[in-house]
């Protein structure tokens, strides 16, 4: 990370988890969405809190603040891309702000929005998901199926064919009257749609070498997590199965690191992964140059990054007392614990 997108009172990389926000009793975090240098944290009551860079309009123009500020209330869902933020509000309106040179705002020729601006109305229960240069919304249909719309970069045909540099309005990328899409897992140039049965329903774009939807067509109960350049499929068997770019330790080594039976949650950041074990131990693997995978040898007291774990095998970073929630961003790792 290169800015204040951890909500801490400094810009230094930290290699030991630091407390960034304490919520009042009864408040819960439902989602943490990470952009290139900004972070939005959504509470169960619909309050969206934000920290980090806002110079491109992604959070609040030129306004400066320290730590977390209330970005917006009445938010049902939120996602962040490189320099943009997209929300669904209580009126089921899809809104975006920030900067999107590849059409990431979904607002037609508008490439920058200083305020949340309406893209379109969506049905109740819709959810938004973004990668750095793409955004998608999953819309449940009244007939019981799903529609998935996407916009942004299309140079690898991740949205539609033929390829194009810019798609600046939502286009329908998937539609089914039967299959209910639970979430899209987005990599840098590819999209994988997963249905409510944990089946891979559809995949598009420049998919990592070796990955084929056919190989997984008979599997259900899958969770798919994407880093920018790799896909990680988590199932009870064989555990976490990785495809793609592994030159910074991104590919999970199931046999050596952690039996599938011990894993209870997985999250993927830009080029690192985070998992929770049943014993409430949080561990990270992959590219950890910014301290985001923790310190492999706990031989120092300093909380600040010492570049001692740039390519990280599975590394224990935090022992929680109770099950916690995990999120990950651009070389950032997030743990939401219960008090």
């Amino acid at each position: 990370m290169v800015g204040t997108n951890l909500g801490l009172p400094h810009c230094e990389d930290v290699i030991v988890p630091q407390e960034t926000l304490v919520l009042e009793k009864g408040q819960c975090v439902s989602r943490i969405a990470c952009g290139g240098n900004h972070t939005v944290l959504l509470l169960d009551d619909g309050t969206a809190l934000a920290c980090g860079d806002s110079k491109q309009g992604q959070l609040g123009g030129l306004e400066q603040w320290e730590g977390w500020k209330v970005l917006l209330g009445g938010v049902k869902d939120v996602t962040c891309g490189w320099e943009f933020t997209v929300v669904i509000n209580e009126q089921n309106e899809l809104l975006s702000r920030g900067t999107g040179p590849k059409g990431e705002l979904g607002l037609g020729s508008m490439r920058r929005a200083e305020e949340f601006t309406k893209i379109m109305d969506v049905n109740m229960g819709s959810r938004v998901f973004a990668s750095l240069q793409n955004c998608t919304v999953v819309v449940p249909t009244r007939e019981g199926g799903s529609k998935v719309y996407g916009w942004g970069s299309n140079t690898k045909c991740q949205l539609l064919e033929p390829k194009s540099r810019i798609v600046d309005r939502p286009v329908l990328i998937y539609e089914s009257t039967e299959t209910i899409i639970e979430y899209p897992a987005l990599g840098r140039d590819f999209i994988v749609l997963v249905d409510t049965h944990g089946r891979i329903a559809y995949a598009s774009g420049s998919l990592p070498l070796g990955f084929s939807t056919q190989d997984w067509s008979s599997h259900s109960g899958l969770q798919v997590h994407c880093m920018w350049t790799s896909i990680h499929i988590w199932s009870s068997k064989p555990g976490i199965y990785s495809y793609g770019n592994g030159n910074h330790g991104q590919l999970f080594r199931q046999e050596e690191w952690c039996p599938a039976s011990e894993i209870s949650q997985v999250a993927a950041g830009s080029e690192h992964g985070v998992l929770l074990k049943h014993n409430n131990q949080v561990a990270c693997w992959g590219w950890g140059e910014h301290g985001n995978c923790g310190r492999l040898y706990k031989d120092k007291d300093s909380i600040f990054n010492d570049y001692s774990n740039v390519i990280s095998p599975l590394c224990d970073v935090f022992q929680a007392r109770e099950p916690c929630d995990l999120f990950a961003g651009c070389a950032t790792t997030w743990i939401v614990t219960k008090c």
Binding site: G3, L132, S153, M227, W287, H290
Partner: protein, 82 residues
């Protein structure tokens, strides 16, 4: 020298003021490469905030439209024999 990934020139952002191509780095900063260096054969874009590098996939001819966009010239115009 091993790079983190390959990126095609059409996926990069060209800034006419700085004459630089950039592309998001997974650390949050941007890979950068100067157009004149590409004209001279350089194809590695570096990130100012971390050790990652990308290999930019391009042909020398691809640069012409960006020079036109910037209203500038390549560093060493071909000398005309007299």
């Amino acid at each position: 020298m091993s790079t983190y990934d390959q990126v095609e020139i059409e996926d990069m952002t060209f800034d006419v003021d700085t004459q630089t191509f950039t592309y998001p780095c997974p650390c949050g900063d941007r890979f950068q490469i100067f157009i004149d260096d590409m004209y001279d054969g350089e194809n590695i874009a570096v990130c100012p905030s971390c050790s990652l590098m990308i290999e930019v996939v391009f042909e020398k001819e691809d640069l012409t439209e960006y020079y036109e966009e910037a209203g500038s010239q390549p560093p060493e115009p071909v000398a005309v024999a007299s």
